[in-house]
Structure formats: C-alpha cells, structure tokens
C-alpha cells in the first residue's frame, strides 16, 4: 500500500520521509463542541512534478498520495478520464503515458515526473475529431458514455501497436476495457473501420 506505516510512528514517518514539519493539532479543537471554522488544516505532503499533459507542460505540486487519475479529475478538472473501479479492473481510466496505454488509477502522479500524458481531451485536434472518436460516434459504440474515453484510448493504442489485425485480435487487446451497457460489437466495428480506412492516428 502506498502509505502503510504504524499508527504510533505516523508523524515521525512523515517527517522523515517527506521532510515537512507536521503542525501539532490538539485533539481538543477537533471535538464537536468546537465550530468547524476553528480548525486549521495541517499541511498535506506534496512534491513537485513536471508533466506534459496533452502537449502542455505543467509544473505541479502534487499530493504524494494522488494517482494520476485523481490528479486529472480532482485537481486539474480534466474529467474526461473516468474512474470506474480504481483497481485497474475496468479500463475506464485508460490514458497514454509516453505513448503506452496505462491505467491512470494505478500510477501515482509523483512516479510520472517528466512523462508525457495524453488523455481523451488531447485526442482531437482543434475542432476536428480524432478518426477513432468519429468512428465511435458513427457506430454508436457507447450508450451511457462512461467507459467511452477509456475504450477510445485503448482503441487508439490498439491500432498504434499494430494489434488490430482481425476482430478476434481487437477483442483480445480491448478486453481490459469493460462496457457495462454492452456496446462491444459497435466498438469493434468502429476500430475495424478506422483500421481499414488507413487514417493517420
């Protein structure tokens, strides 16, 4: 786990590990008798990372516990990348890190210093849809739309990696992405069409 330490030595651990001085918060002011505005939040352990997200360089102070997924969604307001399980089971959070498809929920932001990240928001250029987005739209490859970003990011990676050799190979590559609405057939139709069109991806 990312922060498994003994409760008794928690503070000393934090001090040692990330070099910040924890403000000692007296338990008394946290009880119910006190209004909440009396509470001064203690600093949260943060670290600087340099990320290139959709071509834009960003220097960010991030909570060391933040996954890339939570960084995108909660801190940067980039909610196109979805959280479906936070365990790497569903594929809704699929992004490209240095060109490789990656579960954004399984990688901490601080491990990505210097990395190039592409999300669904970075796929279309100006007003033009990426060919995969256009194909998903045409083939009705989604219903609720919640898994769609992840499916599209995987689909683009499938083509880029040369894995879309036939329908079975596409399915094999895409099986990391769940669609509970069951639009699988339409998703494979879309990928096959982009593959056959020879469009630049």
């Amino acid at each position: 786990m990312m922060h498994c330490y003994l409760m008794s030595s928690r503070r000393s651990f934090i001090r040692k590990a990330i070099g910040f001085t924890a403000i000692s918060v007296g338990a008394s002011i946290l009880t119910d008798a006190h209004p909440i505005d009396a509470f001064i939040p203690a600093p949260i352990p943060k670290q600087k990372v340099l990320l290139t997200i959709n071509g834009k360089q960003m220097e960010l102070m991030v909570d060391i516990r933040s996954t890339v997924l939570d960084l995108l969604r909660e801190q940067l307001g980039m909610t196109g990348t979805k959280k479906g399980c936070a365990m790497g089971d569903c594929g809704a959070c699929m992004i490209h890190v240095n060109g490789n498809r990656t579960n954004a929920c399984l990688t901490l932001a601080v491990y990505n210093d210097g990395n190039k990240i592409t999300t669904i928001e970075g796929l279309s250029k100006a007003d033009a849809l990426h060919p995969m987005q256009a194909a998903f739209l045409k083939h009705d490859s989604f219903q609720c739309g919640y898994c769609t970003s992840g499916q599209i990011m995987s689909a683009v990676a499938c083509l880029k990696e040369g894995k879309a050799t036939n329908r079975d190979a596409i399915k094999e590559y895409m099986k990391r992405n769940i669609c509970r609405c069951g639009s699988y057939q339409n998703i494979v139709d879309a990928i096959e069409e982009v593959k056959k069109s020879g469009a630049a991806i």
Binding site: M7, A27, D37, F39, G80, G182, Y184
Partner: protein, 743 residues
Amino acid sequence: MNTFLYNFQLPDERVDGLDKVTGKARYTAEHQIPNMAYAVFICSTITKGSVKKIDTTNALNIPGALDVLHHENCPAVPGYKPSAFPDLKNVGEWRGMKVFADNKIRFNGQPIALAIAETIESANEVAKMVEIEYEAEPHETDFHALRKEPSKLKNGSSYTRGKSQAYKEAPFYVEAEYNVPIEVHNPMEMHATIAHWETTDSILLYDKTQGPKATQSAVARLFGLPDKNVRIIAENVGGAFGSALRSWPNVPAAVIAAKKINRPVKLVLTRPQMFTLVGYRPQAWQKLGVGADANGNLLGITHHAISNTSRYEDFREGIVDASKFLYRCENVDTDYKLLPLDLSTPTWMRGPGEATGCFALECSLDDLAFKLKMDPIEFRIKNFTEIQQETKLPWSAINIKDCYQKGAELIGWKNRKPTPMSLKDKDWYVGYGMGVGVFGAGRGTSTVRAVLHADGKLLLESAVSDMGSGTATAMVKVASNAMKLPEDKIKFVMGDSDLPPGPMQGGSTTTSTLGSGVHLVCESLKDLLKDLAIESTDAFKTIAKDKITVENNRVFITDNSSVAVSVRELLDKKKVPSIEIIKTSPGLNTREIQKATNSFSVHFVKVHVHSKTGEVQLKHVVTTGDAGKIISPQTARSQMLGGAVGGIGMALTEEVKIDHATGKISNASLGSYIVPRHTMIPHIDVWFTDKPDPYINAIGAKGLGEIAIIGFAAAVSNAVFNATGKRVRDLPITKEKILTAKA
C-alpha cells in the same frame, strides 16, 4: 386506435454523442463547487450486531481531516423521525436504511461512519484510521440453507386459475428447480452525490439518479423542506440498470455531512461499495412444473418462487408473473415468498423479476418440448394466445410470431438437430437454443415545455435523466416528426429537477411516457401556430384550423401551400422573441382501452460446448423485439445489443459469492465478479417487428430496455442442452456445472 405517419431512417448519431466521445459529458462526481470537501464511507466489517465504540482521534489528526460523521454525532434528521418535527410540513419518513441513525449493523459493508477531508486522498486516509469496536451477533446469509425452513419465510402471495398442480395429471410433464444467484448492476459510473446547502433551507444536489423529480421529493421530505428548495442535477448518468431508481444511503449521508460541516460535500462510492449499497438482483429459488397433452397443448403450469430480501425492508418483484399470462393455459398456480437475510435490500435490476422467472419458465418449456419431441418454437406457437391469460384482455398488439420466424431464419434454426450431441465441430458440440421474454409496457404522466424561437429553433425540456438508452435522441426524433422540423433545429434539455416534471427512467416506459409528452406539446404548439396565423394574417382569417398545416416552421393552407406564413413572421407580428407552451400528457388507462399492454422478445443463440472441458462459447446471437414502433433505430438497436450482453453475463458468469462464515461478499470487484468483456461477445443480430402499437400512445412505441435481457439466459441454457444433453438450471452456467450435470 391511432394512425402513424412516422418515418425514421438510419444511421443517426446520438445528440449527446459528441460530448461523450470527446470526454466533455459531465457525470455526477465531475462537478466542482468551490470549497468542496470530500467524503468516504467507512463500512462495517461484521454482518450483524452493533457498534460499541468509534475512536476518531487518530483519524482526525490526519492532515486535511475535517470530520468523521457517525451515529453519535449525527445531527437530528427530520425524515429519520418525522414525529419529532411536527412543525415541518413536508417532512416524510426516509425509505430504506437511515444511515447514521443508530449503532445497529444490519449487513456486512453497512456505512457506519463518513470520513470527511479536504481532498480525496486525505479522506481515504481518514477512513482507514477510524477505529471501530463491534459487538457481533450471529448472522444469517445462507439462502440455500434457510429457504428450506418455512418459519424463515414471509409475505407469501399465491394465485390459482383453474386447478392447482394440474401439470401432474398431464400425459407429459416436467418439473424442476432453478436457481438464480445475486447479480449486481455495476454500472461503470459509481454512485455519487455532491450536496451543497446554498442557504440554510435550500439544497443543490448533483446525484446519480434515474429520476431527478423522485430524488428531489425524497430529499425535500428528509429535511422537511418544500420541493422547490431542493434542486437535483443529473446531467449524464453513467449507466444504472435500475440501481439509481431510488436514493441510497449516499444521498442522506452527503446532505447531512454538508449541513454539519457547512461546506459542499462530494461522496463517491467505491467499487466494492457498489456491491452492497445500491441494490442487486435478489437471489431466487424457483420450482416449475409444466404439463401438456400429446399434441403439445399446455394443461398446467405451477410456478413457486422464493427470493431474498433484507431484514429491514421487503423487496418483491414479478418472478412468477409471466407464467400467469404469457401462454394459453387454463390451469395455473403460483406461489411467491420472501426470505429475509442479513444483507442489504435488493432492488430492480434490468428485467426485474421476469428475467429470473422467464429463465425458469423458458427452460421448462424447452424440456417439455424435448419430451414431446416437438420443436421448441412450434411448441410455443401451439400455445400462442392473443388474450393475456391472467386478465383475459386482448393484447393491444402482439407480433411475437414474426419474431419466431425472423429469428429462426437469422440464426439458421433449420440446422438445429432435435437430438443433443448430434452436431459437432471438431471437439465442440454445437447447439441452438431460444427463449422468450415479456415485460409490461406502460405509459405514465409527463410534462414537457416547448419553446419555439423566431430563428426556428425548438427547445424541449423535461426533468428526466438518461442512463444511456438515448432519451434525448429519441425525443428529438419524436419532435422532428411531429413538427416536420430537421433534427438539428431541436434540442432536448433534461437532467434537472427544476424543469417540468418528467418520469422516472425505469420499467421500460421512458419512450412511451415522455414521447407522449413531447408529441402532445408539439401538437399543441402547431395548434397555437395555426391560431396565431388565423389571428394575425388576413389570408388565414377564414380558413378552418383543420385545413392548415404546420411544417418546418411554416404555416400554410393545406390545399394551397403557396399561402404561407413563417414562424418568424408570426412572432414578429406578435412582437415576441419566442413562444412557450407546457403540456402534461396523462398516463395510460388500461381500463379505458380494455387491452393488455406488453412488449415481447425472442432471443436465439448458437453455442459451442467443448466435449471435454465443458467450456461454453457463444458463436452467434440473434435478438428480436416486438416493442411497437421503433422511434430511434440506432439507439434501440444498441439497447438490444446491451441486453444481449447483459444476458450473456447472467447466463455464463455473473454471481455474487458470499462467505457465509463472515457474511461478507468475497468477490466485490470487477476483477472477481465477472461481467462480459469484449472476448465473450459473438456476432449479434438485432431485429425488430417495428409495428406500431395502436393503443399504447400516440407514437405507437413500447419499451424495450427490459425485454432485451428477459429470456436470454434461458436461450443459452436451452442451447447448451441442445448441444450436450446436459441441463443446467443454476445460473451462471459454468463448465463445472455442465460436466457434472446429469444427461
């Protein structure tokens, strides 16, 4: 009787499609409110008993911790005890578990506290640091052991038509038991609520709900506020399949927390919590007996069922209903009881009741057809009826015979051999199976506002939400046809309780209910435009209204279209930028029409079953629907595809496993509760009868969300039987069960 002029063409993109493929579509948890805090449920690790002590000292020392809400510090909630708040007019008792109201543990995974912090990271850490002492009591979760004890069962309901247990006297009969495990909706978007007290007595709530108006009412009653003081926004719903038909503990928890800390609070469930906190398809045991004469005429059906509920609420569904009315049979008896367990409350999951019941009924009919040496389709056609057998009312429309014929043709039914193990492809036995689904087709009340602008753009509004079936897309098509207006000029706005009251999206009724509302408001709008033309334009002064036509924002005399006036001209004359009209379309009165209203489906599958390992591979699926006029062909097709995929999960993989020693679900993740993935899906053909139902509503459309899955699991079991001679009556159909089943 209604006549129909609708004409729809393929292909058509969803109106919300562009937002969904670009990641711009916003779901509940994706809204941001300044100063918002994050909350995480802390859930019980025991199954029954009480919380003895909660120690939050260490938890509150976590940097960023704000509060830990639990039963000892939970503020008084009017809806938890309405009698204590006599001054509040709109207070009403909260339905379901009253989270944080007491220290009782009713199921494993019950929320007992809420960690609140500045960030999601801190909230997760606070949750881990809360120390809880329990006092455990013995629990009961083992459905199979307990259903055999009559004293444990409650609330039986039974039905008899003709003679009870008549099947046993028939020359040919089969009887068998069936089991359906707990299945979980698991929409991809997890349930979430953002609560914001905008003033001391008004709440803004972003919530994952299939019914913004219902959630508004529930939350208003919880705090004894007028409905108008509560606003629910559900812009996009990332799937639900029934899980968002009611408000679960996350709703009161977020609202209470926001009140307590005086800040907006975001509460998102985790995937494991999705297994325990937002309902599930109940576990069910069934016993079916079906008898017929030598010619295949049904002589008796007996259907008994028991399904589980929680200790604190009764949940019933229509498990035995289809057996009462679908096939021609004079002697039918049913019995349905509940078994309360120490689990959370089940709820409606796609095809509720019927999906469970039709699995048993349609497998039984397949077994009986085999015994009679009849083709299963022929057997069903033999017992086809145009009269709903329970009410004895004729169906408003039933074209299921077309489904049998077309489906059989598409799947290649002629290649099916009646004797199992007759067809082989290398090491794989080949089998064909079919199953029928039926569900009620209703029409509720809906209110729609239409605003027609001088530039010709039409805005339609109603407070529904859409979980993915394509409501806005279908409604734009209804309006486009009514107004003879291009679809790109029409916008349908929803997902906000401030809009005119729309229906709950559930029970396969949205298109019928809301489509009727859109149709009505458009017809009224045309009427208004005709009035305006007559009132303000000389050429129309003496023309009767029924001689005037409105098309594509032009009002003209039907027999002489050169005498015309545009909407812009009419509005200019009236000196208004737009005209607005609100109409309420009433619900269906089945007594008035004296018809039974249902949608029907027939599913066909071709399977390969490995002769040694028992592995099942679906090779082809054909799913056919008789659901009236298809309003939006592309989205309707996708819904049928999705139903088939859901049916594949129900048939082959989906099953919640409970460790009865602890009462805990042992596979509460998408890695261990197996839902269908790309590799499990064969080619699926979808076909609709596409014949308008002349009685259900003005647009001729019935629902199809439920029939898309109902009967599917039976088709798979029947195909496996046809392939191997092995009958699996316990879902899911696993290779182990096939290998150990008696031939």
